[in-house]
Structures are given as C-alpha cells and as structure tokens.
Symmetry: C5
Subunit: 301 residues, 5 copies
Amino acid sequence: MIIRPHAHWFVRLFSWHGSVLSGILFRLGLNLLMSVVAIFCLDWYETLGVKLTLAPFSLLGVSIAIFLGFRNSVCYARFTEARLFWGGLLIACRTILRQVHAISPADAPRITALLMAFCYSLKHQLRKTDPRKDLQRYLGDETDDVLRRRAPTNVIEMKISRWLGEQRRSGAVSDIVFTQLDDSIHQLSQVLGGCERLASMPLPFAYGLLLHRTVYLFCTLLPFALVPDLHYMTPLVSVFISYTFLSLDTLAEELEMPFGYANNHLPMDAMCTNIEINLLEMNNQRELPETPVPDRHYRLT
Amino acid sequence: MIIRPHAHWFVRLFSWHGSVLSGILFRLGLNLLMSVVAIFCLDWYETLGVKLTLAPFSLLGVSIAIFLGFRNSVCYARFTEARLFWGGLLIACRTILRQVHAISPADAPRITALLMAFCYSLKHQLRKTDPRKDLQRYLGDETDDVLRRRAPTNVIEMKISRWLGEQRRSGAVSDIVFTQLDDSIHQLSQVLGGCERLASMPLPFAYGLLLHRTVYLFCTLLPFALVPDLHYMTPLVSVFISYTFLSLDTLAEELEMPFGYANNHLPMDAMCTNIEINLLEMNNQRELPETPVPDRHYRLT
Amino acid sequence: MIIRPHAHWFVRLFSWHGSVLSGILFRLGLNLLMSVVAIFCLDWYETLGVKLTLAPFSLLGVSIAIFLGFRNSVCYARFTEARLFWGGLLIACRTILRQVHAISPADAPRITALLMAFCYSLKHQLRKTDPRKDLQRYLGDETDDVLRRRAPTNVIEMKISRWLGEQRRSGAVSDIVFTQLDDSIHQLSQVLGGCERLASMPLPFAYGLLLHRTVYLFCTLLPFALVPDLHYMTPLVSVFISYTFLSLDTLAEELEMPFGYANNHLPMDAMCTNIEINLLEMNNQRELPETPVPDRHYRLT
Amino acid sequence: MIIRPHAHWFVRLFSWHGSVLSGILFRLGLNLLMSVVAIFCLDWYETLGVKLTLAPFSLLGVSIAIFLGFRNSVCYARFTEARLFWGGLLIACRTILRQVHAISPADAPRITALLMAFCYSLKHQLRKTDPRKDLQRYLGDETDDVLRRRAPTNVIEMKISRWLGEQRRSGAVSDIVFTQLDDSIHQLSQVLGGCERLASMPLPFAYGLLLHRTVYLFCTLLPFALVPDLHYMTPLVSVFISYTFLSLDTLAEELEMPFGYANNHLPMDAMCTNIEINLLEMNNQRELPETPVPDRHYRLT
Amino acid sequence: MIIRPHAHWFVRLFSWHGSVLSGILFRLGLNLLMSVVAIFCLDWYETLGVKLTLAPFSLLGVSIAIFLGFRNSVCYARFTEARLFWGGLLIACRTILRQVHAISPADAPRITALLMAFCYSLKHQLRKTDPRKDLQRYLGDETDDVLRRRAPTNVIEMKISRWLGEQRRSGAVSDIVFTQLDDSIHQLSQVLGGCERLASMPLPFAYGLLLHRTVYLFCTLLPFALVPDLHYMTPLVSVFISYTFLSLDTLAEELEMPFGYANNHLPMDAMCTNIEINLLEMNNQRELPETPVPDRHYRLT
C-alpha cells in the first residue's frame, strides 16, 4: 500500500506545492492590474453615464459556478475512473498469479515477468514515454519484437493468453480452469481498453473552451463592476473571486487527463513498483524493491 | 490508440473550429441587434412607466442555469455511454480473437473478417449511411444476403454464433469453451443493443423544446432589463450572457445524439480503423492500415 | 431499429404536439388572469402599506428550481431505467434465440413464440390492458390457462424454463449448456422484476405533492411581487416564469411512470414489433411485420 | 404486482395523508407565531438601529437549499437501494424456485417454505419485530432452533445451502448445476448483507444534525428579516418558505431509514405476500393469498 | 446486525458528541471576535469611503456553496464505497464458509480462522495499527511469518487460496467447484484492493486546500460586509453563516478518509466482531462474542 503523507495543513496553506496556485499566478496578477486600472478610471468612467452594476455579474457568476461544478464533477469522474482501472490492475495481477500458484506453480516467474511487462508497457503507452528500458528487464530478447508492434501492451497480453492456450492444449489445465484464467486475463483487457478510452477521448473540447473564455472574460470585467461600491477594497475582493473561479477551472483541466506527471495525476511509477512488490512477495522472493515514498514536496510520480 | 491533438489553447481561443461558436453566431447577432434597439428605445420606453428590472431575470437566469446544467449532465451521459460501448466493442473484438487464437488459430482470419464487418455495419447503421462498400471488403459474396435484411448487424453476429455452434457440434470445442466464447459474443450483443437504444430513443423531446424556448425568450428580453443600468455597456454584457447560455444549449444538443459527423461526435471511422489495426496485428499481419490522424482542423470522423 | 424523426425545430416551436405546453395551458391562463388582477389592484394595494417585494421570491424561486432539478433527475432516471430494461429485453430475446439456434435449431419457432408472448404479456401487464388478443396469436390453446394466473408473464417465463429442463433431462443439452441458457432466461427475470418494481413503486408521493403545492402557490403569488416594478410588463414576465416552472413540474410527473401512452412514454407497441422483426429474421422468415413509423404528430405508442 | 393507487391530485392537495405536512404542523405553528411577534415588535425594533435585511438570508437560504438538495439525493438513494434489494429478493426467489422445478421438482414445496421463511425473517429483522408467528407457518418444529440464533435469517439461508450440498453429495445434481444454484443462493446473501448494511449504518449523523439546526434557526430568524418589507404579508411568505424547507428536511429523514411503517417506507408486508403469491403459483397451487390492497388512506405496510 | 442507537434528537441538539461542532469551535470564536471588531471599526471605517457590500459576498457565497456541495458529494461517495467494501467482506466471508460447509465441512474451523485473520489484518492495515495481538489469536505459529511480509493481508488470502489448490490437487474438489470457490476468494481480493485504493489515494489535495482557503477568507471578511446593514445583529448572523460553511467543510474532510477512529468513521472493530459472530454461528458454535454496543456517547469504533 502506497502512503501519501500530507504536510500539516497550516504549513501548506502558504506553500506553492500541491496547490494549483502557482499555475494561475500570472492570471491573478493581470486581475490585480485590472482592479487598479478600474480604481483609477472610476471618476472618468462615471462621467460617461455608463455603469457596470454587480447584478448581471451575480446572475452570470452563479451560472458559471453551476457550469464549473458540472465540469468539475465530470473531470473528477475521469480521474476516479482512471484510478479504478489501476486499482483493478493490481487486483487482476494478484488474482492471475494466485491462480497460477494454485494450478501450475512452476510457471509463476514467467507469468510474473509478463504481468510486470504489461503494467510498465501500459504506463509508458499512457504517458507516451519510451518503454524499452523497463520492458528489457522483464522480456529480455522478446523486447524488440514487442516494441516493433503498434499495440505493444495488447501483444504482451496475447503472450499470457498464448501460454494459457498451450497449457490447455498440452492437457495441463482442463477446459474449466482454462475459462477461469481466461476470465482473469479478460480483466487485463478491460483495464487496457478502459485506459485507452480515457486517454484517446478527452472531454468534448467545447466545454473547456467555453468555460475558459467565460471565466476569463468574467474575471476581466469583474473589477469594473465592483469598483463603484467597493472602491479601495476592489483588488482584494476581485482577486479573491477570481482565485476561486480560476483555480477550479485549472484543477478540472488537470484532472481531465490524469495520466501525466502533474501533482494531481496518477503516480503510475509508484503503482508499478507496488504491483511488483506484491507479485514478488507472492512468489516468496526475499529481495523486494523499496516501497515508493513521496519526495519532500509530497509528490509521487 | 487514437491520438487527438489539440492546438495550443491560445490559438484556438480565437478560432472557430472545435467550438460551437460558429453555430450560434446568427443568434448572437440578433441579440446584439436587440441590445442596440434597447438603447435607442430607452427614453421613449421609460416614459411609459414600464420598467423591466433585472431582479426577475436573475431569478429566471439562475433557474435556467440549473435546468441547463441538468440537461448538460444528461446529454453528456449519453455521449459517455456511446463512447463506452465503442470502447467495449474494441475490448470484445480483441477478446474474441484472443480466444479464437487460443482455441482454433486456423479460423482467426475468418473471424477477424466477421468482426470487422460487424463494426462497420454498426457504424453505418448508426449513421444511416450505405455499408455496401465496407461490407464487400470483409464479407465478399455474402454481402448481398446481409444487406437484404432489416437488421444486418445482428445477422453478422449470427454468423459468428453459427460458426461457434458448428465448432461445438463437430466436437472441436467442448461445451465449456463454447459457453466461454458465447459469453464474448454476448458482449457484441450488448454493444449492438445499447447503441440501438441510444440511437432510437433521444432525450424526451419536451426537455430540449422547453429549454430552447426559454433560453431564446430570455436572451431576447435580457437587453431591455439590462439597459436602464448599463446603458452603453448593454451590448457587451448581453452578448456575453447570451453566449454562455446559447453555447451550452447548443453543445448539449450536439452531444445528445453522438453518432453523427459533428465535431464532438464519436470518430467512428477512426475507431473502426483502430480496431482493424489491433485485430490484424494479433494475426501477426505485417501490412496494417495507417493510424488515423486528425485533419488540420483537429477533426477526426 | 426504430427511428423517431423530429420535425424541424422551427416548425415545432409553435406547435402543441410533443411539448407539454397543452397540458399546462389552463394553469398559465390562471396565471395571466392573476397578473391582470395584480395590475388593477396595485393602487389600492399600495395604500395598505403591504408590499410583496421580489427578494423573498428570488430566494424561494431558486430553492424551488434546485428541488425541481432534483425531482427531474430522479424521474428521468426512472424513465432511463425503464428504457434500459426494454433494451435489455431485446438483447435477451436475441441471445436466447441465438443460443437455441446454436444448440437445437428445431425448437426455434416454439421459443420465438414464447419470447414474443413474454414481451406482449409484459407490455399489457405494465399498461394494465387486456393481453388476450396478443397472447392468442403466440400461445394458442395455452392462452386461457396463462390468463387465469395472477402473474401471467412469470408463468410464460416458466414455460421457457420448463422446455429447458426437459432438454436437460432428455440429455439433449449438457449441464453446462443448461446453465448457459438458464443465465439468459435469468435476464428475462431481471427485466420482468425490474419493470414490476418501477411500476409498483412510484417516487415517494410527498415529493410530487410538495413540489406541486409549492410551485402553484409560488406562481399564484408571483404577479403581486412583480407588479410594483414591472407594471404593464407583469403578465409577460409572470407567464414566462410560470411556464418554465410548471412545464418542468409536469414533465417530471410524466416521466415518473413511463409505461403509459403519453407522448414521452416508452413506445412499447413499436418495441414489441421491433423485437418480433428481429426474432423472425433470425429464423430466416421472409414475411416480417412492417417497421413501426411515427404518426404525423411524431408519436409512437 | 402490487398496485398503489393514488387519490386524484386535487383531493389530496388538501388532505393530510401521504404528505409529510402533519409531521411539521407544530413547527409551522411556531413559525406563524414568530411572524406575528415580528410584526408587533417592528416599531420598537427599528428604534434600536438594528435591521435584519433579507440579503444575508438570501445567501444562506440558497446555500441551505443546495445542502438540502444534497441530503435529499443521498436519502433518496438509500430508499431506492432498499427497494432494489427487495425487488432483487423477488427475482432471486423466483429464480431459485424456477431452477428447483427444472432440476428436482419434488423438493419445490420444501424450498418454497424456506424461501418464504427467509423473506419474513428478513422483514422482521429489519423492523425489529417478533418473527415467531410467521416463521412457525413455514418452519414448523425448526422455528425454535432458528430463533435461538443471533443471525436467524442467515441460518435459514444456510438451510437452503445445506439442502443443496446434500443433493450434490447424493449425486442428484452435478457440480455444474450445484454452482448454478449456489450462485442463485448467493443473490439471497447479497440482499441480506445489503439490507443489513443500510439498516446498521445511517447517514453520518452530523449531516442530519447540521441541517436540522440550520433549517430551524433559519426559519426562526426569517420573519424578522421579512417584516421590514412585507409587513402584514410576513406570516404568509414566512410560513410558505418554512413549509418548503421543513418538509424537505422531514421527508429526507423519513427516507433515510426506509424499513419502518411510515407512509413512505417500504411496504414489506405486501411485498412478502406478493413473493408468496408468485412462488405458490409457480408450484401450481390453486389457493393463493389475496393481493395486498392499500387501505383507504392509500397506505400499504 | 450492529445497532447504532441515536439519542433523542432534542437531547443531541445541544450536545457536542457526534456533531462536528466541537472541531470548529475555535474558528467560530475567531469569527465572533471579527464581528465585534467590525462593529467597533464601523464608524472609522465608513469615513474612508470604503464599503464592503454584501452583493459580491452573495455571489461568492453561492459559488462556494455549490463547490462545497460537490466536495461533500465526493467525500460522501468515498465513505459509502468504504462501507460497501466492508459490507461485501461480510457477504464474502459468509459465502466462503457456506460453500466450505457444503463441500468439505471438516475444514470449516481452519477457514474460519483464516477469514477472521484476513478481516483483522485488513482493519489494522487500514488504521496503521499493530495487528500482532489479533492475528496471534487466529494464526498461532504462522503469525510471525505473516507479519514479516510487506502485504500481510494479501498473504493471508494466499493461504486460503493455497488450501483450495491443495483440495483440487488431492481430488477432493472438482475443477468446477474449485472455480466456484476461487470466485468467492476473488471477492476478498476486490475488498482488499478497493480499500487499499481508497486509503492510498485521497481526493486531489488541491480541492481541500482551495475550499479551506476560500471558506476561511470568506468567513473572515463576512462580518465587514454584514455590519453596515445588520449592526448589532452582525455576530449572530455571521456566526450562523460561518457555522454552516465551516461544518460542512469539516465534515467532508472527516468523511474523505473513513478508516480512522473519528465519530463518522467506519466502526471496524464492531464490524470484525460482527463477522466473527456470524461465522462462529454458522459453525454451530455456542459461545459467541458479545454483540458490539455503542458507548454512552453513541460511539462505536
């Protein structure tokens, strides 16, 4: 079990790491500037008989909050689903190895290597990084053949399936046990297919674009609507409201595609190591990799 | 895995493609016109003692936002479900072929052809386009017979099932392996039935109609309620609020029926090619179709 | 696949059919009357020092919108679940017949008749109409016995199950194939049990009652709160707001029990015909019923 | 199928039964009193320079509405889940008896009795009532032994399982049929475990407490905020708003634990009778219990 | 079945226990202080021409309520999922023991011990407490070996699986019964994997941080916005609004990680005892542990 410690709440309240604050600092700066402009323009601006009152902004702000809430739910659901698939991957790997141990213990090391290759290949496929080094560790000579393929992770799953087919043809496993293990391999298929689905199909682009545009324009005009009432307090309140809206917008965007290296993305490196520890231990191996520990910024990758 | 690159956010902020903006331009123009009318009528309009204040519009606007949020969730859920079925189709095709390879490798090409015919037939059924050309590639002489039927996709599934029944009768597969493969074919049934359900049963029509009417009337009356306070700023704020509401209404409508060719619809052409690449590679075939790439407007069909 | 065409949006914007407008016309008329009363009473009414301002109505209106949104989600979920069961019925019927074809093709006509009797009996049970005519077509002499029972649909399912038991006892199907078909029959059980659950257990009555009462009282008092500000515009705005709230209330009520004949209810007649077309075609029958087509008011029953 | 008729809407609009109104009458009376106090204190109250304006109450009211909406969704989900389990119980009982008929018809009466004992025991366990009378009808001499146990419902399930184990040991059913029936018995386990989960783990207590406190305080202070504007209309509007909030709070509380005898609770008596009718009919028994009918207050227990 | 009695509502309305009130008392005190400061500064503060009006706070407050509502839903869903896993653990333990009784009753005591060891090991793993004492009771000499491992709970599951493998190799159970029990063991895997997933992956940290910061700043500034209108009533209304927001924020945080000892966390001690009572009773054992009863503060651990 990976543990992700958090610093004391008070310490992080004023730290950058782990919050999305750093990503929106520039835009908050712009908003601050706009507030100052609004204060200085106020006199000239009122002589024109033009007033931006807060009422339409209230209506718009609540509407944007409702739509932001919707987008947040949807992006968080994607993040949760991705996490569910990687949790399911751990369960599937354990189950397959458990069944192999119950049926044909001699094959456990070979299957362990294939399962680990599957996990690392999936990780690299989702992050679009080079899997060669990791696959080499588990597949040895087969690596080149696998890497030449378009869908290497699926090819590795085929290798497990082929081993099972051979077991059945040689009579080592009955048809019944064959179907049982085939069901477990099918769980790998579902993790693979599910992750590919999340990675290849983002949220409809128009949602993000629409909310970006609306939130930006809203935050830009807001100081001019606040200034007649708040005067010198405008920067404080304007930056505060903008901070709330911009942060949620940015966070939703980060969660939409949870397979990267960002702070709130899935720590797939640690997860792969965790699966490896579990599988090796089931093989009664003594020397295990170290349990992944977050760095001093509380980050796991 | 299909990759759908996005242009840099800044570039697209001012582009038409991928946003729903182009679809609602005409209506935003009308709203602009209405705002100008409201400004010019203001004086005459106040002499009548009639005032449209913003308060009732605030109440109504927030209510509409809540209902729009509901409709968006529901339409997005339909889009997600459709994507889930097509993701499940990839998984089912891979699983069936994997099982055929483990059991009866000689039949792999025939089953691959039937699976691809199933996918293309489903795609054309959902888009109401002519499947002849695609089916001809995979079914050859059987094409005419299939196309004469009312439910061609189901007939193709029957062909896979009939092959399996023959294998069982000839004793090539035991009853147990038969049921295992039958379960996998059942997954095709569920994708087919699920997609037909989505396609034949839209959201209750009254929802769309009710929100259309309400959003339109709201946007038309809005300038008259804004003008007493905002005066010359009316067009800016009115178009801004209208843009938010109309975009979400249009986007929900687009997502409701995700099987078309629109920007936010499922790229079923690319998905079929992707399934084909996966299946052919599992058969160790060398020459694979090219991975689908979005066009310069970032569109896949 | 049933197709439900929609008229062009513009045509229906001003039509009755398919919208819930006609159902609430009387109540909108009352609201209009109330607005006129409010305008005429305004002067006398202000002398009393009593003012209904919009602020408490804003608070109440937004609250009602939130609760209406909840009720809408819940009723729509019931509608979706009912649709899911009928989609599952098509899938289950196809699967059972597919399996019968793979195992014992000679029994296909008998099983087809029982499956159709199941579908029609379920339809009539849910709509509380007389199933005799439809059952006679498929069950012949057995009809009277079935209709004498309290749970005729379940009795028809028992007949399919009894056929399967006989096949097993006679050795025609092995235990394994028996369990496979038994699983498919279990899907019929789940559709039957699920539909019965929806039909026998509406939404807690208090929800509907509470919202009805609240929405009505709100719409009745609204004109008196609007009139001090809007004066002659009161009827327009009041009817507009009432239309939005009453429509959603009515629509939710319609979706709550989706097994009737109303516009937004499940077209179970068409669905039964669709299942019949699919099953007969799987039996290679030439003469099929006509695909159901909506009438000129875009309605299917 | 149980039918729960509703009185005409208009009749019930002014009736107590079925609405939660009677439960909150006392609290609405208090609110009315508070409104009258507020009207009389107004003059004295304004001399203090203290004004409760509606603006902060608007903010708070909308927030409470959002949180009440959340609590309502969550409690309704509990109610729905409970209903789903009891619907699943009917399906599981039918399926087990159907399978017993297909496999070993002679045992049908014994299994029917055990299934009914399971249903009644579950009902009494959930309502914390005495099951002796009902169990005696089905279990005869075994009743005492069952009632001496801490988990009697589970013990009854064990009896069904033990019968199945004996059938297998005696060779009457093959291992395959054994697993099929064992899966069906597992459905009983899931209903039992699920209902126990709902009954033993209410919503986190703090939610209810927090909303109670907030709603009560809100309704108590509301008249003082309304009175400066509304004057004599205060009682009407204040009671109206309080009615909406208190009703939803009360209804949510009622739905949270749906296993009692209240109006919106599950009619488990009727459901048990319904299961009995279904099972006896499957055994071709002629004399069936009467279909449960709601009393004149439209209540089923 | 564990019973968790509640004190009468009125008694607890003014009690600390079970409410989150005690946790936020300090922060409410700060808010009270701030309100008093606001009242005293009002005169000096108005001479600066700076006014914090309530309008922007209304907009912000409603937005925060929407986002708090989202976070509450999400944290409550985590709590519910955790409860579901522990409910599933009870069902899985009962099912495994039921199947062992039907197949190989002599092994029931050994399997009961392993199942209990699994439950206690899972509990201690999730709470990060020392499992030695509990495991010693069930595993005896094997305890040391288990505790030396990195994933002890998984190792215990392996022991059950190894027993099953031996049964199969010795011919005591057929392949079919083997797969049936293997499926039941797989349910343990899913509970284990699911709980590990919840424990190792909290809500994205930024959500909590963002809402904390926003809620705190909001509550701190609120008195200054209320004071111009409410004057002496400021502390009452300000503390009331703060109480609502801070409580929900705190409660959500408590539910996010439901495996601790807090009031609203899962009572895993009681749940383990409950599983033990159920299993021992299925073994016909007479002496059972006592049913867990909440202490006088209505707490179970």
